[in-house]
């Protein structure tokens, strides 16, 4: 297990380094630059050249990357040349929103999706077919469209949830929960559909195996067979899906953030990219990469817990 951890750590460090370099290079290749964003539509060529020099945009890309990296290693992510705000502060301000959305959606989608999948696999019949149909519908519904419909129904018409905004937990726990219900509902539908289908198929596969018949013959209770044996065996692909869902949600929240006017990292990534705000882009990319690394690490550990063969490798 310790070898697994060490190997993963080594890969993670390389990944963080590679992503930061790639992000820097790709951003440098896109048309436009920070100086044009700051100057807007009305500027003189002399003013533009002067600002480029001030921002060191006239220096080679690798020189600028090295400058960024040498500061980042020391924990200094720099300052946005557009807003004048510290990159670390801005990310810290928005991380709570993104984590609440991503983790909340993952928990809700996992609980409901797995429950639906188990239920339909065990009961079968109409319920099983209903889960199949719901899965297809869930896959087809775009989350931003669903978000707009939910706002219209539950915020504008019924007035039971707020239409926009995020309330920090420490400011008001009730307001926090209230502000998350609609966005998480909009984001979770896709995950619920995916996980219900995955769990149902996995459970049906495991429940048809010989060892399940043996357990039943030995008098094991049905709940023990379902939860202790079948679900545990069916859980490995489910954990993979949960991990992938969590990672894809990091980028996927951006449209829902826009619909609900929540200032999360997704919106910051889009905004800083269109503004050519390189320090901010690097900071966001670094944060996303670190979250992905942590999630992958957690998924690997979960594999080990669920499957002793993995631990032995």
């Amino acid at each position: 297990m310790s070898r697994l951890v060490l190997r993963r750590l080594a890969i993670s460090v390389s990944l963080v380094f590679a992503v930061s370099l790639l992000t820097f290079l790709l951003q440098s290749l896109t048309p436009g630059d920070t100086a044009r964003t700051i100057l807007g539509t009305n500027y003189t060529p002399e003013g533009y050249a002067q600002l480029r020099q001030q921002l060191h945009l006239d220096q080679p890309v690798l020189t600028r990357y090295w400058d960024w990296l040498s500061h980042a290693i020391r924990g200094d992510l720099g300052t946005s040349p557009i807003s004048g705000l510290g990159v670390g502060t801005e990310i810290a301000n928005r991380l709570g929103v993104t984590l609440a959305l991503v983790l909340g959606t993952t928990v809700v989608a996992t609980l409901i999706g797995v429950a639906l999948g188990v239920l339909s696999a065990v009961r079968g019949g109409v319920l099983g077919r209903a889960v199949d149909v719901l899965s297809m519908v869930g896959f087809a519904l775009p989350s931003f469209w669903l978000a707009l419909v939910l706002v219209l129904l539950f915020a504008v018409t019924l007035r039971v949830f707020p239409a926009t905004g995020y309330v920090p937990f420490l400011h008001s726990p009730a307001g926090w929960a209230q502000s998350l219900v609609l966005p998480i509902a909009a984001l979770a539908v896709h995950g619920i559909a995916h996980l219900a289908k995955q769990t149902r198929d996995g459970m049906l596969d495991v429940l048809s195996r010989d060892f399940v018949h043996t357990l039943r013959a030995n008098g094991a209770s049905e709940s023990s067979i379902i939860f202790r044996h079948a679900l545990r065996n069916a859980a490995i692909p489910v954990v993979t899906v949960v991990g992938l869902m969590l990672v894809s949600l990091l980028g996927g929240t951006v449209l829902v953030e826009a619909v609900f006017a929540m200032a999360g990292l997704g919106g910051l990534a889009v905004q800083s990219t269109t503004q050519h705000d390189l320090p901010m882009i690097q900071g966001v990319a670094l944060t996303f990469t670190l979250i992905v690394v942590v999630v992958n690490f957690a998924v690997d550990l979960a594999y080990g817990w669920l499957n002793p063969k993995v631990r032995a490798r």
């Binding site: 539509t41 807003s83 504008v156 007035r159 239409a163 926009t164 826009a258 006017a261």
Partner: protein, 519 residues
């Protein structure tokens, strides 16, 4: 075993209890949704804006985000909702003698900034000088040669070349008149994320989360406390127009800047709508010398393009009752407007002019445009009209404004889509049609007749300048430097609990300083 069972049972009950607690929390949360109305009943004005400010520094803030600065900075001269100039930090002002080259300001006494420091002539001089240094665009104060504090509360500006629009330049719409505290100017970097003005409010850093919401509280030193109407003003950043409308409908916000696509929905929700035409949209025929597309070098071709456009049809189709078709770069009632029509829709005349210029089969016109500010929609509609007279428009569309302006400034395109806000004809010269207009005159078109009119108008008295401004607009139209099509509207939607949200041709941009609780 029994103990284990009991423990297991307890654990189950605890988990069930926890689930119940979460559900109760959600239900109780649902029950408090009426709190979203609190903004309008607790003395708080909540406004939604489509983006965060690029900076709070009055010298650097873009006009799109002027609300963020105007709440905290009083201008020297205030343009009221009718468009009339009113005293604010300056009690009076005026040009000395003739020629518009010496301008005096008399400041209001006993004014303090939010940091407690007093308004002085030296401070105003320092603030204007800072603006001139820090402002990155082409400056409306470029011809100022000296700024002198001629007394404790009097300032004189001396100009190397005449500028007849200094009173307008010192209103809230241009930034130069938003005076900054001298104390704060000692460290101007802090102005990007803080305020130091003599306006009715000041930024509350504790209640502000940059890029999400900006909180303003009353300035304790404000000279005119009667015009402070709210205990708090909150500007929330809501980029999506549908989302901001939903927030307005549910009472989360009180005023939003709307867009045409949501105007009907706002109307049917019984919200207050204020709207005025603000930006002329059309084509700038930048290649007036015909260096990129030779056809454009012939004035008859540029006139043909103007005759080929059915402006009424495009305005109706794209903006309904809110679109104002136009042949001119100014609106009726504004400086420079000509009553006579120039280009009544006449495709036959367009074809005839093209044939006379040697292009009976038309020509190909590469045009760069952008999806932003309705420019792309309008140029697409124009391309269809121009095709009818044989002009094949090759559109290059940039979804983002930055790439678009880079192409415009590059001068590779003979024509580009343009959206340009209304302003006095003199100020338009520096940004739109003179050779010094870096952005919108990329190929440096110039004509002695135009420059002569401009120079004469700059130094003329008001009555003479009005005539000369008309001649400038007329000259631009007859020479076909632009193909204006429609004045697009600006919208402000508000709830009925707020009064004073106005948008007029004189001052299209509604100013939050004017807004107050409806009685």
């Amino acid at each position: 075993m029994n103990d284990q069972h009991i423990l297991f049972g307890n654990s189950r009950r605890k988990r069930f209890g926890a689930v119940l607690a979460v559900l109760a929390l959600l239900v109780s949360a649902c029950g408090t949704s009426g709190g979203s109305d609190a903004g309008s009943t607790s003395g708080t004005l909540t406004i939604a804006k489509g983006g965060p400010p690029n900076s709070l520094d009055p010298a650097k803030i873009s006009q799109d985000w002027q609300w963020y600065a105007n709440l905290a900075y009083d201008p020297l001269i205030y343009r009221d909702p009718s468009g009339t100039l009113q005293p604010r930090l300056a009690e009076s002002w005026g040009y000395v003698g003739s020629g518009n080259t010496v301008f005096d300001l008399k400041l209001r006494p006993n004014v303090r900034f939010s940091d407690g420091s007093p308004l002085t002539a030296d401070g105003v001089k320092a603030s204007i000088e800072y603006y001139r240094k820090a402002h990155t665009g082409s400056s409306p104060l470029s011809t100022v040669s000296a700024i002198d504090a001629t007394g404790p509360l009097t300032v004189r500006l001396t100009l190397a070349k005449p500028n007849p629009q200094l009173p307008v330049v010192f209103t809230q719409d241009y930034g130069a008149g938003n005076i900054i505290s001298s104390t704060a100017l000692a460290n101007p970097a802090q102005l990007a994320n803080a305020t130091a003005g003599a306006g009715p409010y000041q930024l509350d850093p504790a209640g502000t989360v940059a890029n999400d919401h900006y909180a303003y509280v009353p300035n304790p030193h404000y000279w005119n406390k009667e015009s402070v109407h709210y205990a708090k003003v909150l500007i929330r950043v809501i980029p999506n127009p549908n989302t901001s409308l939903a927030a307005l409908k549910t009472g989360q916000v009180d005023v939003i800047q709307g867009v045409y696509s949501t105007a009907e929905a706002a109307k049917s929700a019984s919200l207050q709508i204020a709207s005025a035409p603000q930006v002329f949209v059309g084509l700038a025929l930048a290649d007036r010398a015909g260096t990129v597309v030779p056809a454009l070098g012939d004035v008859r071709v540029r006139q043909a393009l103007n005759y080929a456009i059915d402006r009424q049809k495009i305005a109706n189709a794209l903006f309904g009752a809110y679109g104002t078709p136009t042949e001119q770069i100014v609106l009726p009632g504004q400086d420079g407007y000509n009553e006579k029509p120039f280009y009544t829709y006449d495709p036959a005349k367009a074809k005839q002019l093209l044939a006379e210029a040697g292009y009976p089969n038309g020509f190909t016109l590469p045009v760069v445009t952008t999806s932003s500010a309705n420019i792309g929609l309008t140029t697409q509609a124009m391309a269809d009209e121009l095709k009818e007279v044989g002009v094949r428009v090759e559109l290059t569309n940039h979804p983002d404004a930055t790439s678009f302006y880079k192409d415009v400034a590059g001068g590779k395109f003979a024509a580009f889509g343009i959206g340009f806000g209304t302003m006095p004809v003199y100020l338009m010269g520096q940004t739109l049609y003179l050779p010094s207009a870096a952005q919108f005159n990329p190929l440096k078109s110039s004509d002695p007749a135009l420059t002569g009119l401009y120079d004469r108008a700059a130094g003329a008295d008001d009555a003479t300048r009005a005539q000369l401004d008309q001649q400038i607009v007329s000259w631009l139209n007859e020479q076909g430097w632009f193909v204006p099509v429609v004045f697009t509207p600006v919208f402000f939607f508000s709830r009925t609990n707020v009064a004073g949200v106005e948008s007029t041709r004189g001052e299209p941009i509604a100013d939050p300083v004017e807004w107050r609780p409806a009685s």
